[in-house]
Symmetry: C2
Subunit: 276 residues, 2 copies
Amino acid sequence: MAKELTDFKNLCVHTITTKPWPIEKAAQEFSAAGIGGITVWRDALAGRDIRKTGNMLRDLNLEVVSLCRGGFFPALTASQREAAIADNLKAIDEAEALGAPMVVLVCGAAPGQSLTESRQQIQDGIMACLEHAAAARVKLTIEPLHPMYAGDRSAINTLAQANDMAEAINSPHVGVAVDVYHLWWDPDLENQIKRCAAHNNLAAFHICDWKTPTLDMLNDRGLMGEGCINLKQIRGWVEETGFNGFNEVEVFSNIYWHQDQQQFLKKITSAYLQHT
Amino acid sequence: MAKELTDFKNLCVHTITTKPWPIEKAAQEFSAAGIGGITVWRDALAGRDIRKTGNMLRDLNLEVVSLCRGGFFPALTASQREAAIADNLKAIDEAEALGAPMVVLVCGAAPGQSLTESRQQIQDGIMACLEHAAAARVKLTIEPLHPMYAGDRSAINTLAQANDMAEAINSPHVGVAVDVYHLWWDPDLENQIKRCAAHNNLAAFHICDWKTPTLDMLNDRGLMGEGCINLKQIRGWVEETGFNGFNEVEVFSNIYWHQDQQQFLKKITSAYLQHT
């Protein structure tokens, strides 16, 4: 089991978690709560000067943990795949401007072709972005997604598959994100976390909970403690590897987005101390 | 790839697929369409003399393929687990009365305990039913369920896990059901199908499709050809093992249940020939 959490310096909150707040408001509130990090979703940057926004975050003592998200490489036509690569190069530029050390990849899947084919296109797409990522000092972080998203969001559905790909690419500019929502059910999870870290690929750790029942496949995640994920155990496995990065709260929730966000942030910090 | 399907003698339809029809109507319609098999859900037997219903099905030249469903063994208290075992013994009796050679198990999972614990309770529950199953000549068939059901419906989420358990129990009265909806995404599927058959555990093959998007986690399955499952390839893997059982159409669909069931049955037989 992981050691108890007593403060928020390793807590990072994703802007999408408090989606109703503009990034400026979210940053002020996170900072006032003593939260150490922020992961920025690209939609939160719309209409902003990205470089100034990064400075604003740092002025509030928030570490910019990552930019979400790149990916969606697979497509049925070459021109669509090229457009996807162009968008990922743009995401790398945005991360560099923001001062984010990584871009998290939701890798994609294209209905109409096999998952094997989609995985090859993901690998090709990442390879095509590597030089640009290296120049920008930005890591491309493969996030395996739950198998319920294999149809259209990611052909990489287990940590083993993400590890396979990161090891095949074998670059310091590629890593892996472990998100408990996607991976908690996997009987091989502990081993694959160890393997991920042993190859220096463990780059991010995302937390939330899996509610029973889950009412919406995308936007009904629970806060830590509201569901059935063995989160303390998984955090223990992650920290046993020596990982000392952030615990990133990434909650998509129609329910919480409709609530008062200040109250919600209190629930987040409370759940973080009690149930993470 | 599998050989082309040209008739319906290996087609089995689950009563729940055409849920609005009482079993008597479903049986007449299936039989009139030349369909060879029927899998009976227990709710379809409510208020019927089960033995007479089995005879009615056979009189219509329908082979009774299986009874759905038993399982749901895990629970937080011993008395609940005993009640679950009692219900499974009853399901075995019903299968025997109906003349069904197997009971399909949706194994269960109990929020509040680990998946490992739930799996142990599943194994214990099956073992507790084995003698009764042997006496009734009924096979207990473990169906691994999609990881999106790990929270509350099944702690067995891959074919590897189902194979592990069937091999650990090692009884002629235990088998495994392969359902493409639950397993299509698994990169190890072909190997695990081979392994399943090599241990004489491949007892059932369920088909449908995975739609993108999927609007409901339980009741938005697609007919074959409507989604992204590599069904012909998977059927090929199954048949290469020598499996010559039924292709069972198991579709839970709020959309189709609201349509004219006679038209829907035509769609099923058409999709079966074209897309299976």
